[in-house]
Symmetry: C2
Subunit: 536 residues, 2 copies
């Protein structure tokens, strides 16, 4: 085992600079607790000098007994002033953090152009600000902004900036590739050189503008850096920060460094997905290590080899990072994909089965129409069960109607459904926040008398995708509905040129899937409608 | 300038192994033409032995006079048979390609486990298959699958596999990191060694399972490889293939290699976006070099420095890869973001303006409600114009109603709108493929008499996002509508707990934006409704 590497997570600070990312103080609290459970060493919570939301976070996080050190972010003092009266530095002190990161200039060009001050004044700003933190017994990290660009432009000045921070008592000197334009070899060479010149431990902070943030971080570690600054899922400005979800397993599993406490690595996937939920950013399906497709196999040849030995097409066991293997269904696959899916479901099938051929043809045809089962396991399960088993028709829809109206104020949506359950006709109506909610409410209201457990499930996600953009008059939409309840989460799909019809199809499939896993209650239908307490 | 690097694009073959990616023969043709215009050297079109769609592609592409060499993909011959009668190899020959890639085993573990044959037979399979292609005067590339894993496990055998291909006359030996588990230093060391042992030019083919595919490709090039196999936007199985959209600019702009013909690099962004449209895969907003946020600035300090000199926070000039700088609006930004957006729009504002403060507060409040203007430039423009200018009220909506019904057959959607244009009331109705289409049709039908040019614009994209998943009963949706026409494309946003209401809001904004850029015709309203030919 090699050295310990310290992880500073800046999802809550630099991560929120990413396009489309905005976190409330509540969100930040939830994420901090999850990061602490994962075992990162520092959690950079925000910039107390920049907004009141971050001040609230630093206040509220004090109620929790974390292992990680909560860290505040700020800049070196303003030019031509002093640290003791700098409003932003004072806010770091009053935020009560144990550690703070101060960003400062190390590229002479930036001192002239962005700061518009002298090279000497910038050095004084660094010294004064770090010394001020140390006087208040705060662990001080100097984030040398644009360090690599600065080093290439004026090596002496870039090193002088680091020396000032070292002289002022900084605990870490963090070299930042702020614009993300540096290559791994340059990083390795420069970090090696810096490490020889200075005695304070080195950190690395990279950005992904060349798609090299992970490689650049690893190169710095190899050259002797011992702190990594990055974000979960690589959130961050422009192309993002260095992605800790790739860096941590690379360091631990491939390079034998210590990062997280023993056994915590298996929490990586759930942490990444939880934070993507809270941040409300869709996780790329193919995200390394933690993505839903990171260990998904589609090609027929790959699938048949994987079934012989997973090591043939998997670089690590997915369980090490808390992920799992998946077999995808697609036109490229041989029958082995669908068969392995069916086996996973416990269906008794074999390759020479006529039903297998029929269902493969049917799935290919549906995919041609725009269906996609890769993200709709429950719809696929229903199709496979119908092909291989006797599946009971639980109910049939006789009609569905909607009225939507807006004159003054908000829009009103009302759904009217007529369904038939074992020969008993139920005709009912419900309102909803929107048409999909109204349909969902009406359908549940009709079924709850027979299946009371239906109240325990709810719609947890809803996605719409236009799928034929090229031929706009015949544009189709694909709706994915995710439902949660009964200790399970499942997804269904609907396709139509009508968004309501596609939603309806996915909703009905979702309910069918749930009912197949539920006990029916034999009730007489009451002629008066029950007032539904069900909502999504 | 360093050496020439040959680019083999395998978007049409390995790229389609990615989850959610499926291309018709038509799609493949369009993409191939775009890749040829970009200037890649080889376009791997598919596997003629695996499906008829690929055979169709190879047939149809012959009608075009491309600079790139069209390349077919296949495997070495089946075990215990001969190449001359191998159905898949014969299909490569009949496909009429100039070049072919043959994948074969070089990892002894795979020979035993996946192929289930002897090490000797695998070597014979490689020799026979490459020799067969050469007899038919096809440029032959040997893709050594799992080469790096094989080299680490049994160096002699991995090299013996390459030597067999070399002896049989292969034009390229392509080293594949099929499982994506290898680190850049290992790649560089192994490629350096291989290059000393063999005289045929080396290629590199990497996967992104450790988020290192780009770095691994660059490491191989530094070690002497001269062909890169990758895909546009990094499409591919699991975590994807090496992303040519990052590799090409890194090689050309940062390492001074020749890849594309002079000046073609500026077509990179449009190529990447076009292919993402055809493949119908949403491009990550932060994708390096070509993403919409690759040169987007959000932090207030960054924005104020960028306005002084773009080089402060941009590693290259975005125009070099055909991308452009964007200033984002967000709660993190100081006023400088909104001001620079307003200046971009030609509005005459300054920081001390009371209107500036009011609009910043308003935008913050709307973002709090769930609006996002980062992807809705036209809605933002309308807000800014209303705050700073006299904007004419073009029409007001008095009421909107919808009826949706499904009994047998497909669902019917009908929209009824009552609008007021300069005191003239128009009351009309229209059907549509779905509710949004019906609303769009009804609104256009009411306005076309006043604004005939409205027929020249159409809805080009429609997105829905559930934004409050945590609090499902009050779940809101955000709808983004993109419209195209009049040589422009613009996006608008609507937010509501009702998907129809949010869509309606975005639609109305989209039409308002269009009308502000259109001449009104002074027509008397006819009392009979014109039959609208308008559709989206």
């Amino acid at each position: 085992m090699n050295d310990n590497i310290f992880i500073l997570d800046t999802t809550l600070r630099d991560g929120t600079q990413g396009e489309g990312i905005s976190l409330s103080a509540d969100d930040k609290l939830k994420i901090a607790l999850k990061l602490d459970a994962l075992g990162v060493h520092y959690i950079e919570g925000g910039n107390p000098g920049s907004n009141s939301k971050d001040i609230e976070f630093f206040q509220r996080i004090k109620d929790y007994n974390l292992n990680a050190k909560i860290t505040a972010f700020g800049s070196t003092r303003r030019k031509n002033s002093n640290a003791e009266t700098d409003a932003n530095l004072l806010k770091i002190v009053t935020s009560g953090v144990q550690a703070a990161t101060l960003v400062g200039k190390s590229w002479d060009f930036h001192v002239h152009t962005a700061l518009q001050t002298t090279l000497e004044e910038n050095l004084a700003m660094i010294y004064d600000s770090i010394a001020f933190l140390k006087q208040h017994e705060i662990e001080a990290m100097y984030d040398a902004e644009h360090f690599f660009d600065g080093f290439k432009n004026n090596q002496d000045y870039a090193l002088a900036a680091l020396r000032k921070a070292q002289d002022a008592g900084a605990n870490w000197l963090v070299l930042c590739d702020t614009n993300g334009g540096t290559l791994p070899d340059e990083i390795q060479e420069i970090v090696t050189y810096v490490k020889e010149q200075l005695h304070v431990p080195i950190g690395i902070h990279t950005h992904n503008d060349c798609e090299l943030a992970v490689a650049n971080t690893l190169a710095a570690i190899k050259a002797g850096a011992r702190q990594v600054q990055g974000t979960i899922n690589g959130y961050g400005e422009r192309c993002g920060n260095a992605n800790l979800c790739s860096i941590i397993p690379n360091l631990q599993l491939k390079m034998n460094y210590n990062c997280l406490p023993e056994n915590n690595l298996a929490a990586l996937t759930s942490t990444a997905r939880y934070i993507s939920e809270i941040a409300n950013v869709h996780m790329p399906v193919g995200q390394p290590y933690v993505g839903n497709a990171a260990f998904a196999h589609k090609g027929g040849i790959h699938v048949s080899a994987i079934l012989k030995d997973a090591k043939t097409y998997e670089h690590i066991a997915p369980e090490l990072v808390g992920n799992k293997q998946r077999i995808l269904v697609s036109e490229l696959a041989g029958q082995s994909n669908i068969i392995s899916k069916a086996v996973e479901m416990g269906l008794d099938i074999n390759t020479n089965n006529e039903k297998t051929k029929t269902i493969i043809e049917k799935i290919k045809d549906l995919e041609h129409q725009g269906y996609q089962f890769e993200g709709a396991d429950a719809s696929l399960e229903l199709l496979l069960r119908e092909a291989f088993e006797e599946v009971k028709t639980l109910f049939t829809i006789e009609s569905v109607k909607m009225h939507i109206e807006k004159t003054n104020g908000s829009m009103i949506s009302e759904a009217i459904v007529k369904i038939n359950i074992d020969g008993q006709q139920v005709y009912t109506a419900a309102e909803g926040n929107g048409p999909v909610n109204a349909l969902d409410n009406a359908l549940r209201k009709a079924l709850v008398q027979f299946y009371p457990n239906i109240e325990k499930i709810h719609l947890s996600d809803y996605k719409v995708r236009v799928i034929d953009e090229k031929d706009a008059t015949a544009a189709k939409v694909r709706v994915l509905v995710e439902s949660t309840g009964l200790n399970n989460t499942w997804s269904t799909v609907g396709v139509s040129s009508n968004v309501i019809e596609a939603s309806w199809e996915a909703l009905v499939d979702s309910i069918r899937y749930a009912l197949l896993h539920m006990e029916k209650v034999d009730l007489k239908i009451e002629t008066t409608d029950r007032i539904g307490l069900i909502n999504h």
